[in-house]
Amino acid sequence: MKNKDLAIQTIGLNKSFGTFTALEDLNIEVEPNTVYGFLGPNGSGKTTAIRLLTGLSSPTKGISCIFGYDSFARDMKARRIIGYLPDVPSFFSFMNGLQYLTYCGELFGINHQSAQKKAHELIERTGLKEATFRKTGKYSRGMKQRLGLAATLVGNPKVIFLDEPVSALDPIGRADVLDIIKDLREHTAVFLSTHILNDVERVCDKVGIIDHGNLIVSQNVKDLKKEYAKKGFEIKFTEDPSVILHIIRMQKWCEGVSCSVCEDNKYKLTVNVLDNAKAGKELLQIITQSDLSLVSFNTLEISLEDVFMRLARVR
């Protein structure tokens, strides 16, 4: 059932090219004012999904909706409320940055003066002020990505699709663009396709992982990390902790324990457990009784990258 309250909704979306299935039974729901990270390795179907959602491509089967409007419908209601930044943005090289943004604004029905004003604002916001009057054909790849982001925002969209928006940017540019994406959350739903997991962790509320055209998982970043988090501890000592290894192994809550030497010549003990609370308390008692010099005692942290790798390996 179509839901008008959802910024993005796909129901059983399929896309095939001949016998090759690029996307299979994709079901996504993205609420307004959410940054949705769409993760997947190269060739997993991320760009195909975005093209279907933006109406640039038609599905073989299924529905894709933007606030309840069919993305490929002729009435173009969906297209009035979306913005799209492709992975390699391309512009009319005979226009300069200001002219291009003004033209894009006019295509959204904004009058020339207002579009020009908006274009100036966006040029400033995306750090392109020095290149305002430069022909877009002379822009570097990073500048094109910034201009593409500005062009995406010029029509005041309710939903934005960004396909690898920071792939051509230097670290400062990347941080700037990610800050813009964070700010966008206040008024807009952002669908961010990327394979840079750090960026997703930094800005996304929800994440979908796709592989070989199939959506493996789609849920909140926190919930995802919680679900896939390893339970355990990482403990560092100045001396070799072999003496307590057999004691730990004998505990009911212990799933496994390993010891290694770090680069700083400290000894690291990694303990995987069934119950963090109970194990934490008892581990501290064992260490205290052993007279070993403790350097650090941390619970195991899982990154999105760990989750991604784990899910990808499972497939």
Binding site: L56, R79, Y84, S90, F94, Y103, L107, G148
Partner: protein
């Protein structure tokens, strides 16, 4: 409708900035002047040789340069020029924009794909039509200024009309090729070969070529040279029979006329349908 106007503005702007519009106009106007000048020089030579031979005859005969002598080949030149310039100008108009992603960046906005194709069609048609009209008008002005000829404007406008229909076909054909092919070089290559083949059927008497749009250019020659076929909507060509005796034959011109208009519309409709289904 506003977006359609914006698309037309973009096409005009692009063609102006890239010098395409200026080049087409300068080329066609130069064709008008140079073509007429060369025909005028030929006519002067004819006149001189005619008068030197007629002076031997008592009383002498006078050779008058006719309007047809000066401007009739122009329609042929213009037609051939269209078959060369149209592929060069239109080969990239859709194919390159689709390939580079420029089309996607526009069509993801509230812009209809039909409007995208029609805006290109209207702009290129306008450029070629105005260039052809300018070429003929400048040729007439030049012919009037160098020779005392009476030009029948009714006939001239009929010929201009036929040339415009010929250009309409060439533009629809190239827009169609640019829409269905994956890159501009393929579109340009196929376009130049096929339009050149079409030009090569000029004056060929085979019935199989009767429908060719290039026959409209032959029809222009007939009109300007005051050939009067036995029925309207026909043009004539001299046919050398087995005994090398020239006989007059007439071909119904409405076949080429009708084919040009109908096929132009069909090609345009297919281009729109193709773009509507295209994966961008």
């Amino acid at each position: 409708m506003k977006n359609f106007a914006l698309l037309i503005k973009k096409e005009l702007w692009e063609n102006w900035v890239n010098w395409k519009t200026i080049i087409v106009f300068v080329f066609f106007m130069a064709l008008g002047v140079i073509g007429t000048y060369s025909r005028y020089q030929n006519a002067l030579q004819m006149k001189a040789s005619f008068q030197s031979s007629s002076s031997l005859i008592t009383g002498g005969l006078e050779y008058n340069i006719a309007a047809g002598d000066l401007i009739s080949p122009l329609f042929l030149f213009v037609g051939v020029a269209v078959t060369i310039i149209a592929p060069l100008m239109l080969m990239s108009t859709v194919a390159h924009e689709v390939q580079s992603g420029q089309a996607a960046s526009i069509l993801v906005k509230p812009v209809r794909r039909t409007a995208y194709i029609l805006s290109k069609f209207i702009v290129y048609l306008s450029i070629f039509w105005l260039a052809i009209i300018s070429s003929v008008l400048i040729s007439i002005i030049y012919a009037n200024s160098v020779a005392d000829v009476t030009i029948d404007m009714g006939q001239t406008w009929r010929c201009i009309g036929l040339s415009l229909i010929f250009a309409l076909f060439c533009i629809s054909f190239m827009l169609f090729l640019s829409s269905i092919t994956r890159n501009q070089l393929i579109a340009g290559g196929i376009g130049i070969i096929l339009l050149f083949f079409m030009s090569s059927t000029l004056y060929s008497p085979e019935v199989i070529f009767t429908w060719m749009p290039s026959k409209l250019l032959e029809w222009c020659q007939n009109i300007i040279n005051n050939y009067t076929p036995p029925w309207d909507w026909a043009y004539h060509y001299p046919d050398l029979g087995m005994d090398s005796v020239e006989t007059e034959k007439y071909t119904p011109a409405w076949i080429a006329f009708g084919f040009s208009i109908i096929s132009s519309v069909i090609l345009l409709v297919i281009s729109v349908m193709f773009i509507k289904r295209k994966e961008l």
